[in-house]
Amino acid sequence: MLELFKSNVAGKASRALLNASRIILGNKYILAGFIIVLVFVLMAILADFIAPYSPIEIVGPVLQPPSQKYLMGTDNLGRDVFSRTIYGSRVVLLTTAIAIALSGAIGTLLGLISGYIGGALDRVFSFIMDSIYAFPSLILAIALSVALGPSPINAAIAIAVVYIPTYFRMVRGQVLSIKNEPYIEIARALGIPSTRIVTRHILPHVGRTLMVVFSMNSADAILTEAALSFIGLTVQPPQPDWGFDLYKGRGFILTGYWWMMVFPGFCITLLAVGFALISEGVSTVISGGKR
Protein backbone atom coordinates (compact mmCIF):
# COMPACT_ATOMS: atom_id res chain seq x y z
CA MET A 1 0.00 0.00 0.00
CA LEU A 2 2.69 2.41 1.04
CA GLU A 3 4.73 1.36 -1.95
CA LEU A 4 1.81 2.14 -4.19
CA PHE A 5 1.36 5.50 -2.55
CA LYS A 6 5.03 6.30 -2.94
CA SER A 7 5.14 5.36 -6.57
CA ASN A 8 1.99 7.36 -7.15
CA VAL A 9 3.47 10.44 -5.53
CA ALA A 10 6.76 9.92 -7.29
CA GLY A 11 4.89 9.51 -10.54
CA LYS A 12 2.93 12.69 -10.00
CA ALA A 13 6.04 14.62 -9.02
CA SER A 14 8.01 13.42 -12.00
CA ARG A 15 5.10 14.16 -14.30
CA ALA A 16 4.86 17.69 -12.85
CA LEU A 17 8.60 18.11 -13.34
CA LEU A 18 8.33 16.86 -16.89
CA ASN A 19 5.46 19.27 -17.52
CA ALA A 20 7.39 22.17 -16.06
CA SER A 21 10.47 21.42 -18.11
CA ARG A 22 8.35 21.07 -21.23
CA ILE A 23 6.85 24.51 -20.62
CA ILE A 24 10.25 26.06 -19.88
CA LEU A 25 11.94 24.56 -22.92
CA GLY A 26 8.94 25.06 -25.17
CA ASN A 27 8.90 28.84 -25.07
CA LYS A 28 11.98 30.89 -25.77
CA TYR A 29 10.93 33.77 -23.53
CA ILE A 30 10.38 31.49 -20.59
CA LEU A 31 13.66 29.76 -21.31
CA ALA A 32 15.63 33.03 -21.50
CA GLY A 33 13.98 34.43 -18.38
CA PHE A 34 14.45 31.17 -16.54
CA ILE A 35 18.17 31.12 -17.33
CA ILE A 36 18.62 34.70 -16.10
CA VAL A 37 16.78 34.02 -12.86
CA LEU A 38 18.62 30.74 -12.40
CA VAL A 39 21.99 32.48 -12.70
CA PHE A 40 21.06 34.88 -9.93
CA VAL A 41 19.67 32.15 -7.73
CA LEU A 42 22.85 30.12 -8.13
CA MET A 43 24.83 33.27 -7.44
CA ALA A 44 22.99 33.72 -4.17
CA ILE A 45 23.36 30.09 -3.12
CA LEU A 46 26.99 29.75 -4.10
CA ALA A 47 28.11 33.24 -3.08
CA ASP A 48 30.62 31.84 -0.61
CA PHE A 49 32.38 29.96 -3.40
CA ILE A 50 32.19 32.54 -6.18
CA ALA A 51 33.01 35.76 -4.39
CA PRO A 52 36.78 36.32 -4.21
CA TYR A 53 36.59 38.56 -1.14
CA SER A 54 34.42 39.22 1.84
CA PRO A 55 31.66 41.66 0.96
CA ILE A 56 32.02 43.71 4.12
CA GLU A 57 35.73 43.86 4.70
CA ILE A 58 38.10 46.40 3.32
CA VAL A 59 40.24 44.52 0.88
CA GLY A 60 42.21 47.16 -0.96
CA PRO A 61 42.66 50.80 -1.81
CA VAL A 62 39.51 52.88 -2.27
CA LEU A 63 37.80 53.62 -5.60
CA GLN A 64 39.96 51.38 -7.77
CA PRO A 65 38.60 50.98 -11.31
CA PRO A 66 37.76 47.47 -12.50
CA SER A 67 40.88 45.37 -12.97
CA GLN A 68 41.90 41.73 -12.91
CA LYS A 69 42.30 41.91 -9.18
CA TYR A 70 39.02 43.70 -8.55
CA LEU A 71 36.69 42.67 -11.36
CA MET A 72 34.24 45.48 -10.70
CA GLY A 73 36.60 47.80 -8.89
CA THR A 74 36.45 48.86 -5.26
CA ASP A 75 34.10 51.26 -3.51
CA ASN A 76 34.78 54.37 -1.50
CA LEU A 77 35.72 52.30 1.54
CA GLY A 78 37.94 49.91 -0.35
CA ARG A 79 35.53 46.98 -0.48
CA ASP A 80 35.33 44.72 -3.54
CA VAL A 81 32.30 45.69 -5.64
CA PHE A 82 32.20 42.30 -7.38
CA SER A 83 31.91 40.42 -4.09
CA ARG A 84 29.32 42.85 -2.80
CA THR A 85 27.28 42.46 -5.97
CA ILE A 86 27.31 38.69 -5.65
CA TYR A 87 26.28 38.70 -2.01
CA GLY A 88 23.74 41.43 -2.71
CA SER A 89 21.61 38.96 -4.67
CA ARG A 90 20.77 37.14 -1.43
CA VAL A 91 18.84 40.01 0.12
CA VAL A 92 16.83 40.77 -2.99
CA LEU A 93 15.87 37.20 -3.76
CA LEU A 94 15.03 36.19 -0.23
CA THR A 95 13.00 39.29 0.56
CA THR A 96 11.08 39.11 -2.69
CA ALA A 97 10.43 35.39 -2.38
CA ILE A 98 8.97 35.75 1.10
CA ALA A 99 6.91 38.75 0.02
CA ILE A 100 5.43 37.01 -3.01
CA ALA A 101 4.64 33.83 -1.13
CA LEU A 102 2.86 35.79 1.58
CA SER A 103 0.87 38.09 -0.65
CA GLY A 104 0.04 35.28 -3.08
CA ALA A 105 -1.31 33.01 -0.34
CA ILE A 106 -3.32 35.66 1.49
CA GLY A 107 -4.57 37.42 -1.65
CA THR A 108 -5.69 34.18 -3.27
CA LEU A 109 -7.50 32.96 -0.19
CA LEU A 110 -9.33 36.25 0.34
CA GLY A 111 -10.15 36.49 -3.36
CA LEU A 112 -11.63 33.00 -3.43
CA ILE A 113 -13.76 33.59 -0.37
CA SER A 114 -14.92 37.02 -1.43
CA GLY A 115 -15.70 35.99 -5.00
CA TYR A 116 -17.54 32.78 -4.21
CA ILE A 117 -19.57 33.99 -1.23
CA GLY A 118 -20.36 37.40 -2.73
CA GLY A 119 -22.85 39.74 -1.12
CA ALA A 120 -21.97 42.34 1.50
CA LEU A 121 -18.76 40.62 2.53
CA ASP A 122 -17.55 40.78 -1.03
CA ARG A 123 -18.42 44.44 -1.34
CA VAL A 124 -16.52 45.38 1.81
CA PHE A 125 -13.47 43.29 0.92
CA SER A 126 -13.39 44.60 -2.60
CA PHE A 127 -13.70 48.18 -1.53
CA ILE A 128 -10.80 47.97 0.89
CA MET A 129 -8.67 46.08 -1.59
CA ASP A 130 -9.48 48.47 -4.42
CA SER A 131 -8.55 51.43 -2.26
CA ILE A 132 -5.18 49.92 -1.45
CA TYR A 133 -4.70 48.85 -5.04
CA ALA A 134 -5.32 52.33 -6.35
CA PHE A 135 -2.73 53.71 -3.99
CA PRO A 136 0.90 54.01 -5.15
CA SER A 137 2.35 50.71 -4.00
CA LEU A 138 5.84 52.01 -3.42
CA ILE A 139 4.66 54.81 -1.16
CA LEU A 140 2.52 52.47 0.88
CA ALA A 141 5.44 50.05 1.15
CA ILE A 142 7.63 52.90 2.35
CA ALA A 143 5.11 53.88 5.02
CA LEU A 144 4.81 50.29 6.21
CA SER A 145 8.56 49.75 6.25
CA VAL A 146 9.07 52.89 8.24
CA ALA A 147 6.48 51.80 10.76
CA LEU A 148 7.85 48.29 11.08
CA GLY A 149 11.46 49.41 11.16
CA PRO A 150 14.12 48.79 8.55
CA SER A 151 15.01 45.14 8.10
CA PRO A 152 14.74 42.65 5.24
CA ILE A 153 11.94 40.68 6.86
CA ASN A 154 9.92 43.82 7.57
CA ALA A 155 10.48 44.95 4.00
CA ALA A 156 9.14 41.57 2.88
CA ILE A 157 6.02 42.04 5.01
CA ALA A 158 5.54 45.56 3.69
CA ILE A 159 5.83 44.40 0.09
CA ALA A 160 3.49 41.50 0.79
CA VAL A 161 0.78 43.77 2.15
CA VAL A 162 1.08 46.05 -0.83
CA TYR A 163 0.59 43.24 -3.34
CA ILE A 164 -2.24 41.37 -1.61
CA PRO A 165 -4.83 43.38 -3.58
CA THR A 166 -3.19 42.38 -6.86
CA TYR A 167 -3.80 38.71 -6.16
CA PHE A 168 -7.13 39.36 -4.53
CA ARG A 169 -8.51 41.24 -7.52
CA MET A 170 -7.26 38.76 -10.05
CA VAL A 171 -8.58 35.72 -8.20
CA ARG A 172 -11.89 37.34 -7.32
CA GLY A 173 -12.46 38.49 -10.88
CA GLN A 174 -11.71 35.04 -12.19
CA VAL A 175 -13.99 33.37 -9.66
CA LEU A 176 -16.81 35.74 -10.55
CA SER A 177 -16.51 35.13 -14.27
CA ILE A 178 -16.24 31.36 -13.89
CA LYS A 179 -19.20 31.36 -11.52
CA ASN A 180 -21.30 32.60 -14.46
CA GLU A 181 -20.04 30.00 -16.91
CA PRO A 182 -22.69 27.55 -18.07
CA TYR A 183 -20.59 24.60 -16.95
CA ILE A 184 -20.83 25.73 -13.35
CA GLU A 185 -24.60 25.97 -13.66
CA ILE A 186 -24.69 22.49 -15.17
CA ALA A 187 -22.47 21.20 -12.38
CA ARG A 188 -24.97 22.59 -9.88
CA ALA A 189 -27.82 21.04 -11.84
CA LEU A 190 -26.03 17.71 -11.60
CA GLY A 191 -26.01 18.05 -7.84
CA ILE A 192 -22.27 18.48 -7.44
CA PRO A 193 -21.63 19.96 -3.98
CA SER A 194 -20.40 23.53 -3.88
CA THR A 195 -17.15 22.71 -2.07
CA ARG A 196 -16.30 20.41 -4.94
CA ILE A 197 -17.34 23.03 -7.47
CA VAL A 198 -14.95 25.50 -5.90
CA THR A 199 -12.03 23.13 -5.56
CA ARG A 200 -12.39 21.06 -8.73
CA HIS A 201 -14.13 23.32 -11.19
CA ILE A 202 -13.04 26.84 -10.29
CA LEU A 203 -9.68 26.58 -8.58
CA PRO A 204 -7.81 24.93 -11.47
CA HIS A 205 -8.70 27.87 -13.72
CA VAL A 206 -7.56 30.29 -11.04
CA GLY A 207 -4.29 28.38 -10.86
CA ARG A 208 -3.51 29.15 -14.47
CA THR A 209 -4.14 32.87 -14.05
CA LEU A 210 -2.13 32.86 -10.86
CA MET A 211 0.87 31.68 -12.83
CA VAL A 212 0.66 34.78 -15.00
CA VAL A 213 0.15 37.07 -12.03
CA PHE A 214 2.99 35.45 -10.11
CA SER A 215 5.47 36.01 -12.90
CA MET A 216 4.28 39.55 -13.58
CA ASN A 217 4.26 40.39 -9.93
CA SER A 218 7.75 39.01 -9.31
CA ALA A 219 9.35 41.64 -11.51
CA ASP A 220 7.31 44.31 -9.77
CA ALA A 221 8.18 43.05 -6.31
CA ILE A 222 11.89 42.99 -7.17
CA LEU A 223 11.73 46.61 -8.20
CA THR A 224 9.83 47.57 -5.06
CA GLU A 225 12.35 45.75 -2.92
CA ALA A 226 15.18 47.52 -4.70
CA ALA A 227 13.41 50.84 -4.20
CA LEU A 228 13.04 50.22 -0.48
CA SER A 229 16.74 49.35 -0.35
CA PHE A 230 17.54 52.45 -2.33
CA ILE A 231 15.87 54.53 0.36
CA GLY A 232 17.67 52.56 3.04
CA LEU A 233 14.74 50.62 4.42
CA THR A 234 16.05 47.07 4.22
CA VAL A 235 19.52 46.10 5.36
CA GLN A 236 21.81 48.06 7.62
CA PRO A 237 25.26 48.97 6.39
CA PRO A 238 27.79 47.44 5.93
CA GLN A 239 25.66 44.53 4.59
CA PRO A 240 25.82 44.35 0.79
CA ASP A 241 22.60 45.29 -0.96
CA TRP A 242 22.10 46.36 -4.57
CA GLY A 243 19.61 49.12 -3.95
CA PHE A 244 21.53 50.78 -1.17
CA ASP A 245 24.88 50.38 -2.94
CA LEU A 246 23.33 52.10 -5.91
CA TYR A 247 22.20 54.93 -3.66
CA LYS A 248 25.70 55.33 -2.28
CA GLY A 249 27.19 55.20 -5.79
CA ARG A 250 24.95 58.11 -6.73
CA GLY A 251 27.27 60.52 -4.93
CA PHE A 252 30.24 59.54 -7.08
CA ILE A 253 28.81 60.20 -10.50
CA LEU A 254 30.31 63.60 -11.07
CA THR A 255 33.70 62.33 -10.04
CA GLY A 256 33.38 59.56 -12.59
CA TYR A 257 33.57 56.49 -10.33
CA TRP A 258 30.85 54.85 -12.38
CA TRP A 259 31.57 51.25 -11.34
CA MET A 260 30.12 51.78 -7.89
CA MET A 261 26.63 52.20 -9.32
CA VAL A 262 26.57 50.56 -12.72
CA PHE A 263 26.92 46.97 -11.54
CA PRO A 264 24.27 46.84 -8.82
CA GLY A 265 21.90 48.86 -11.01
CA PHE A 266 22.44 46.50 -13.89
CA CYS A 267 21.79 43.46 -11.71
CA ILE A 268 18.48 44.79 -10.40
CA THR A 269 17.25 45.54 -13.89
CA LEU A 270 18.47 42.27 -15.35
CA LEU A 271 16.80 40.22 -12.64
CA ALA A 272 13.53 42.09 -13.19
CA VAL A 273 13.87 41.59 -16.95
CA GLY A 274 14.31 37.86 -16.31
CA PHE A 275 10.95 37.70 -14.56
CA ALA A 276 9.36 39.94 -17.17
CA LEU A 277 10.45 37.50 -19.88
CA ILE A 278 9.00 34.58 -17.97
CA SER A 279 5.73 36.47 -17.56
CA GLU A 280 5.72 37.30 -21.27
CA GLY A 281 6.18 33.63 -22.10
CA VAL A 282 3.66 32.36 -19.60
CA SER A 283 0.94 34.66 -20.85
CA THR A 284 1.70 33.59 -24.42
CA VAL A 285 1.42 29.94 -23.45
CA ILE A 286 -1.80 30.47 -21.50
CA SER A 287 -3.50 32.51 -24.19
CA GLY A 288 -2.77 29.66 -26.57
CA GLY A 289 -0.03 31.44 -28.51
CA LYS A 290 -2.39 34.00 -29.93
CA ARG A 291 -0.35 36.98 -28.86
Binding site: F127, I128, D130, S131, I132, A134, F135, P136, S137, L138, I139, L140, I142, A143, L144, V146, A147, L148, G149, A219, D220, I222, L223, A226, A227, F230, I231, G232, L233, G243, L246, Y247, G249, R250, I253, L254, G256, W258, M261, V262, P264, G265, F266, I268, T269, A272, V273, F275, A276, L277, S279, E280, R291
Partner: protein
Amino acid sequence: MGLARYIAIRALAIIPTVLILYTLVFIVLRVLPGNPVLAAIGTKNIPEEQLKELMKELGLDKPLYQQYFEYLYNFIRGDMGQSMIIRGRSIAGDIADKLPATIELSVWSIIFSLLIGIGLGYLGARAHSRVVKTAVRLTGSILFVIFIPALGLSLQLIFSKYLGLLPIGGRLSSVGLLKPITGLYTIDALIELKPLVFIDALQHLLLPAFTLGLVISGPYIRLTMNNIEEVLESKIIEAYRARGVREEKIFRHAFRHVLIPITTYTGLQFSLLMGGAVLTETTYNWPGIGTYLVDKVMYRDYTAIQAVVIIFAVIVGLTSLIVDILYALIDPRVRY
Protein backbone atom coordinates in the same frame (compact mmCIF):
# COMPACT_ATOMS: atom_id res chain seq x y z
CA MET B 1 -27.14 68.13 -15.96
CA GLY B 2 -26.39 64.46 -16.23
CA LEU B 3 -22.69 65.06 -16.41
CA ALA B 4 -22.69 67.33 -13.36
CA ARG B 5 -24.51 64.70 -11.36
CA TYR B 6 -22.12 62.06 -12.57
CA ILE B 7 -19.10 64.15 -11.57
CA ALA B 8 -20.62 64.85 -8.18
CA ILE B 9 -21.24 61.16 -7.54
CA ARG B 10 -17.73 60.25 -8.64
CA ALA B 11 -16.21 63.02 -6.53
CA LEU B 12 -18.09 61.82 -3.46
CA ALA B 13 -16.79 58.34 -4.12
CA ILE B 14 -13.23 59.56 -3.50
CA ILE B 15 -13.98 60.34 0.14
CA PRO B 16 -14.35 56.78 1.43
CA THR B 17 -11.25 55.72 -0.51
CA VAL B 18 -9.14 58.42 1.08
CA LEU B 19 -10.66 57.62 4.47
CA ILE B 20 -9.75 53.98 4.16
CA LEU B 21 -6.20 54.87 3.27
CA TYR B 22 -6.00 57.41 6.06
CA THR B 23 -7.21 54.78 8.50
CA LEU B 24 -4.71 52.29 7.13
CA VAL B 25 -1.85 54.76 7.43
CA PHE B 26 -3.00 55.76 10.87
CA ILE B 27 -3.10 52.17 12.01
CA VAL B 28 0.28 51.48 10.48
CA LEU B 29 2.00 54.52 11.91
CA ARG B 30 0.25 54.99 15.25
CA VAL B 31 -1.26 51.78 16.41
CA LEU B 32 1.52 49.36 15.61
CA PRO B 33 3.81 48.83 18.59
CA GLY B 34 6.74 51.16 18.99
CA ASN B 35 6.99 54.70 20.19
CA PRO B 36 7.29 57.06 17.25
CA VAL B 37 9.00 59.74 19.28
CA LEU B 38 11.69 57.36 20.39
CA ALA B 39 12.12 56.13 16.88
CA ALA B 40 12.35 59.66 15.61
CA ILE B 41 14.90 60.75 18.18
CA GLY B 42 16.78 57.56 17.57
CA THR B 43 17.78 57.04 21.17
CA LYS B 44 16.20 55.62 24.28
CA ASN B 45 18.30 57.59 26.66
CA ILE B 46 15.87 60.36 27.28
CA PRO B 47 14.39 61.39 30.60
CA GLU B 48 10.83 60.20 31.16
CA GLU B 49 9.50 63.71 31.71
CA GLN B 50 11.05 65.13 28.60
CA LEU B 51 9.54 62.30 26.61
CA LYS B 52 6.13 62.96 28.08
CA GLU B 53 6.42 66.59 27.28
CA LEU B 54 7.37 65.85 23.71
CA MET B 55 4.44 63.46 23.35
CA LYS B 56 2.10 66.06 24.71
CA GLU B 57 3.40 68.71 22.39
CA LEU B 58 2.75 66.42 19.43
CA GLY B 59 -0.63 65.35 20.76
CA LEU B 60 0.47 61.74 21.10
CA ASP B 61 -0.66 61.42 24.70
CA LYS B 62 -4.34 61.57 23.83
CA PRO B 63 -6.44 58.44 23.31
CA LEU B 64 -6.06 56.96 19.82
CA TYR B 65 -9.61 57.62 18.64
CA GLN B 66 -9.22 61.27 19.62
CA GLN B 67 -5.95 61.51 17.71
CA TYR B 68 -7.65 59.86 14.75
CA PHE B 69 -10.48 62.37 14.53
CA GLU B 70 -8.50 65.43 15.52
CA TYR B 71 -5.94 64.77 12.86
CA LEU B 72 -8.65 64.23 10.29
CA TYR B 73 -10.39 67.45 11.30
CA ASN B 74 -7.18 69.44 11.17
CA PHE B 75 -6.22 67.88 7.85
CA ILE B 76 -9.47 68.99 6.26
CA ARG B 77 -8.76 72.50 7.46
CA GLY B 78 -5.38 72.35 5.79
CA ASP B 79 -3.38 71.87 8.96
CA MET B 80 -1.23 68.77 8.69
CA GLY B 81 0.51 69.22 12.00
CA GLN B 82 4.10 69.93 12.75
CA SER B 83 7.30 68.18 11.99
CA MET B 84 8.58 65.94 14.76
CA ILE B 85 12.15 66.70 13.91
CA ILE B 86 12.26 70.37 13.14
CA ARG B 87 10.11 71.77 15.89
CA GLY B 88 7.49 74.27 14.87
CA ARG B 89 7.84 73.58 11.14
CA SER B 90 4.44 73.41 9.43
CA ILE B 91 4.14 70.35 7.23
CA ALA B 92 1.38 71.88 5.14
CA GLY B 93 3.72 74.70 4.22
CA ASP B 94 6.47 72.29 3.26
CA ILE B 95 4.14 70.27 1.09
CA ALA B 96 2.73 73.36 -0.60
CA ASP B 97 6.31 74.25 -1.48
CA LYS B 98 7.17 70.84 -2.91
CA LEU B 99 3.96 69.77 -4.58
CA PRO B 100 4.25 71.91 -7.75
CA ALA B 101 7.64 70.36 -8.53
CA THR B 102 6.11 66.90 -8.40
CA ILE B 103 3.14 67.94 -10.51
CA GLU B 104 5.41 69.48 -13.14
CA LEU B 105 7.53 66.35 -13.30
CA SER B 106 4.48 64.08 -13.48
CA VAL B 107 2.77 66.00 -16.23
CA TRP B 108 5.87 66.05 -18.43
CA SER B 109 6.49 62.37 -17.71
CA ILE B 110 2.99 61.47 -18.81
CA ILE B 111 3.45 63.47 -21.98
CA PHE B 112 6.71 61.65 -22.67
CA SER B 113 5.25 58.25 -21.91
CA LEU B 114 2.21 58.84 -24.11
CA LEU B 115 4.40 60.03 -26.98
CA ILE B 116 6.77 57.09 -26.70
CA GLY B 117 4.08 54.55 -25.87
CA ILE B 118 1.54 55.47 -28.50
CA GLY B 119 4.26 56.11 -31.08
CA LEU B 120 5.96 52.78 -30.68
CA GLY B 121 2.68 50.96 -30.19
CA TYR B 122 1.38 52.42 -33.43
CA LEU B 123 4.55 51.39 -35.21
CA GLY B 124 4.25 47.87 -33.87
CA ALA B 125 0.60 47.61 -34.87
CA ARG B 126 1.18 48.83 -38.41
CA ALA B 127 4.38 46.82 -38.96
CA HIS B 128 4.05 43.90 -41.33
CA SER B 129 7.06 41.97 -40.18
CA ARG B 130 6.66 39.63 -37.26
CA VAL B 131 10.18 40.45 -36.10
CA VAL B 132 9.34 44.14 -35.71
CA LYS B 133 6.12 43.31 -33.90
CA THR B 134 7.86 41.02 -31.48
CA ALA B 135 10.64 43.54 -30.92
CA VAL B 136 8.17 46.32 -30.11
CA ARG B 137 6.20 44.09 -27.79
CA LEU B 138 9.32 42.98 -25.98
CA THR B 139 10.57 46.55 -25.69
CA GLY B 140 7.31 47.35 -23.94
CA SER B 141 7.77 44.62 -21.35
CA ILE B 142 11.40 45.38 -20.73
CA LEU B 143 11.09 49.16 -20.44
CA PHE B 144 8.54 48.66 -17.73
CA VAL B 145 10.90 46.69 -15.48
CA ILE B 146 13.88 48.99 -15.70
CA PHE B 147 14.88 50.16 -12.25
CA ILE B 148 14.36 53.92 -12.36
CA PRO B 149 17.44 54.96 -10.32
CA ALA B 150 19.61 52.68 -12.44
CA LEU B 151 18.36 54.27 -15.65
CA GLY B 152 18.48 57.77 -14.16
CA LEU B 153 22.04 57.43 -12.93
CA SER B 154 23.18 55.97 -16.24
CA LEU B 155 21.64 58.89 -18.10
CA GLN B 156 23.28 61.32 -15.71
CA LEU B 157 26.58 59.61 -16.30
CA ILE B 158 26.24 59.90 -20.08
CA PHE B 159 24.52 63.25 -20.56
CA SER B 160 25.81 65.21 -17.61
CA LYS B 161 29.18 63.77 -16.71
CA TYR B 162 30.62 62.72 -20.07
CA LEU B 163 28.73 64.76 -22.67
CA GLY B 164 28.09 67.69 -20.39
CA LEU B 165 24.86 68.46 -22.22
CA LEU B 166 22.37 68.61 -19.38
CA PRO B 167 22.44 69.60 -15.72
CA ILE B 168 22.79 66.75 -13.28
CA GLY B 169 19.93 67.67 -10.97
CA GLY B 170 17.69 70.31 -9.42
CA ARG B 171 15.03 72.42 -11.11
CA LEU B 172 16.94 75.56 -12.06
CA SER B 173 20.56 76.64 -12.35
CA SER B 174 19.92 79.36 -9.82
CA VAL B 175 17.00 79.75 -7.44
CA GLY B 176 16.81 83.50 -7.90
CA LEU B 177 15.86 83.27 -11.56
CA LEU B 178 12.15 83.04 -10.93
CA LYS B 179 9.55 84.28 -8.52
CA PRO B 180 7.26 81.26 -8.43
CA ILE B 181 3.64 82.00 -9.24
CA THR B 182 2.19 78.61 -10.00
CA GLY B 183 5.29 76.76 -8.88
CA LEU B 184 5.44 75.06 -12.25
CA TYR B 185 8.67 76.65 -13.45
CA THR B 186 8.17 76.08 -17.16
CA ILE B 187 4.86 77.89 -16.93
CA ASP B 188 6.13 80.58 -14.56
CA ALA B 189 8.99 81.35 -16.96
CA LEU B 190 6.50 81.82 -19.76
CA ILE B 191 4.27 84.03 -17.64
CA GLU B 192 7.21 86.16 -16.64
CA LEU B 193 8.39 86.24 -20.26
CA LYS B 194 11.83 84.82 -19.54
CA PRO B 195 12.65 82.54 -22.49
CA LEU B 196 16.15 81.73 -21.24
CA VAL B 197 14.80 80.67 -17.87
CA PHE B 198 12.21 78.61 -19.65
CA ILE B 199 14.96 76.79 -21.55
CA ASP B 200 16.93 76.37 -18.36
CA ALA B 201 13.92 74.87 -16.59
CA LEU B 202 13.28 72.62 -19.54
CA GLN B 203 16.87 71.41 -19.55
CA HIS B 204 16.57 70.47 -15.90
CA LEU B 205 13.27 68.74 -16.55
CA LEU B 206 14.37 66.79 -19.59
CA LEU B 207 16.31 63.94 -18.01
CA PRO B 208 14.03 63.24 -15.04
CA ALA B 209 10.84 63.45 -17.09
CA PHE B 210 12.33 61.30 -19.83
CA THR B 211 13.52 58.69 -17.32
CA LEU B 212 10.15 58.39 -15.65
CA GLY B 213 8.26 58.70 -18.93
CA LEU B 214 10.31 56.00 -20.63
CA VAL B 215 9.72 53.46 -17.87
CA ILE B 216 6.02 54.25 -17.63
CA SER B 217 5.64 54.08 -21.43
CA GLY B 218 6.11 50.28 -21.40
CA PRO B 219 2.48 49.35 -20.76
CA TYR B 220 1.26 52.02 -23.20
CA ILE B 221 3.27 50.45 -25.98
CA ARG B 222 1.58 47.10 -25.54
CA LEU B 223 -1.81 48.56 -24.85
CA THR B 224 -1.73 50.74 -27.95
CA MET B 225 -0.39 47.97 -30.12
CA ASN B 226 -2.86 45.30 -29.00
CA ASN B 227 -5.82 47.62 -29.22
CA ILE B 228 -5.01 49.06 -32.62
CA GLU B 229 -4.59 45.54 -33.96
CA GLU B 230 -7.84 44.45 -32.37
CA VAL B 231 -9.85 47.44 -33.53
CA LEU B 232 -8.51 47.28 -37.07
CA GLU B 233 -9.74 43.71 -37.31
CA SER B 234 -13.17 44.53 -35.91
CA LYS B 235 -16.46 44.53 -37.76
CA ILE B 236 -16.84 48.26 -37.24
CA ILE B 237 -13.78 48.90 -39.39
CA GLU B 238 -14.92 46.34 -41.95
CA ALA B 239 -18.21 48.19 -42.23
CA TYR B 240 -16.48 51.57 -42.65
CA ARG B 241 -14.35 50.08 -45.40
CA ALA B 242 -17.36 48.54 -47.11
CA ARG B 243 -18.90 52.00 -47.19
CA GLY B 244 -15.89 53.34 -49.06
CA VAL B 245 -14.53 55.51 -46.26
CA ARG B 246 -10.89 56.52 -46.81
CA GLU B 247 -8.27 54.56 -44.86
CA GLU B 248 -6.90 57.68 -43.16
CA LYS B 249 -10.33 58.48 -41.82
CA ILE B 250 -10.95 54.92 -40.77
CA PHE B 251 -7.72 55.03 -38.86
CA ARG B 252 -8.76 58.18 -37.08
CA HIS B 253 -12.01 56.55 -35.98
CA ALA B 254 -10.15 53.45 -34.89
CA PHE B 255 -7.89 55.62 -32.79
CA ARG B 256 -10.81 56.88 -30.75
CA HIS B 257 -11.55 53.31 -29.80
CA VAL B 258 -7.95 52.86 -28.74
CA LEU B 259 -8.17 56.01 -26.66
CA ILE B 260 -10.70 54.39 -24.34
CA PRO B 261 -8.40 51.74 -22.87
CA ILE B 262 -5.54 54.25 -22.86
CA THR B 263 -7.60 56.65 -20.77
CA THR B 264 -8.65 53.93 -18.39
CA TYR B 265 -5.10 52.80 -18.07
CA THR B 266 -3.79 56.29 -17.42
CA GLY B 267 -5.95 56.33 -14.32
CA LEU B 268 -4.42 53.10 -13.05
CA GLN B 269 -1.01 54.21 -14.23
CA PHE B 270 -1.06 57.27 -12.06
CA SER B 271 -0.27 55.42 -8.88
CA LEU B 272 2.70 53.81 -10.61
CA LEU B 273 3.75 57.22 -11.79
CA MET B 274 3.65 58.56 -8.24
CA GLY B 275 5.80 55.69 -6.98
CA GLY B 276 8.17 56.28 -9.86
CA ALA B 277 8.24 59.99 -9.08
CA VAL B 278 9.61 59.27 -5.60
CA LEU B 279 12.53 57.37 -7.10
CA THR B 280 13.08 59.81 -9.95
CA GLU B 281 13.09 62.81 -7.65
CA THR B 282 15.55 61.15 -5.31
CA THR B 283 17.82 60.22 -8.19
CA TYR B 284 17.83 63.71 -9.67
CA ASN B 285 17.61 65.73 -6.44
CA TRP B 286 14.33 67.06 -7.73
CA PRO B 287 12.81 69.05 -4.86
CA GLY B 288 9.31 67.55 -4.94
CA ILE B 289 7.30 65.68 -2.33
CA GLY B 290 9.01 62.44 -3.32
CA THR B 291 12.37 63.72 -2.21
CA TYR B 292 10.66 65.27 0.80
CA LEU B 293 9.19 61.88 1.71
CA VAL B 294 12.54 60.11 1.40
CA ASP B 295 14.17 62.83 3.51
CA LYS B 296 11.58 62.39 6.22
CA VAL B 297 11.93 58.62 6.03
CA MET B 298 15.63 58.98 6.76
CA TYR B 299 14.75 60.96 9.88
CA ARG B 300 11.68 58.89 10.78
CA ASP B 301 9.56 62.03 10.88
CA TYR B 302 6.23 60.28 11.37
CA THR B 303 3.89 63.23 11.20
CA ALA B 304 5.40 64.39 7.94
CA ILE B 305 5.31 60.89 6.44
CA GLN B 306 1.68 60.49 7.41
CA ALA B 307 0.78 63.79 5.80
CA VAL B 308 2.62 62.99 2.57
CA VAL B 309 1.01 59.59 2.27
CA ILE B 310 -2.47 61.04 2.70
CA ILE B 311 -1.68 63.76 0.18
CA PHE B 312 -0.77 61.03 -2.28
CA ALA B 313 -4.10 59.34 -1.58
CA VAL B 314 -5.93 62.57 -2.38
CA ILE B 315 -3.93 63.04 -5.58
CA VAL B 316 -4.70 59.52 -6.75
CA GLY B 317 -8.37 60.01 -5.96
CA LEU B 318 -8.50 63.27 -7.91
CA THR B 319 -6.77 61.73 -10.91
CA SER B 320 -9.18 58.85 -11.03
CA LEU B 321 -11.99 61.40 -10.98
CA ILE B 322 -10.47 63.24 -13.94
CA VAL B 323 -10.03 59.97 -15.81
CA ASP B 324 -13.64 59.02 -15.13
CA ILE B 325 -14.82 62.30 -16.57
CA LEU B 326 -12.59 61.99 -19.63
CA TYR B 327 -13.84 58.47 -20.12
CA ALA B 328 -17.44 59.60 -20.01
CA LEU B 329 -16.64 62.28 -22.58
CA ILE B 330 -14.99 59.87 -25.01
CA ASP B 331 -17.41 56.99 -24.71
CA PRO B 332 -21.10 57.84 -25.16
CA ARG B 333 -22.06 54.41 -23.85
CA VAL B 334 -21.09 55.48 -20.35
CA ARG B 335 -24.37 56.52 -18.88
CA TYR B 336 -24.35 59.40 -16.48
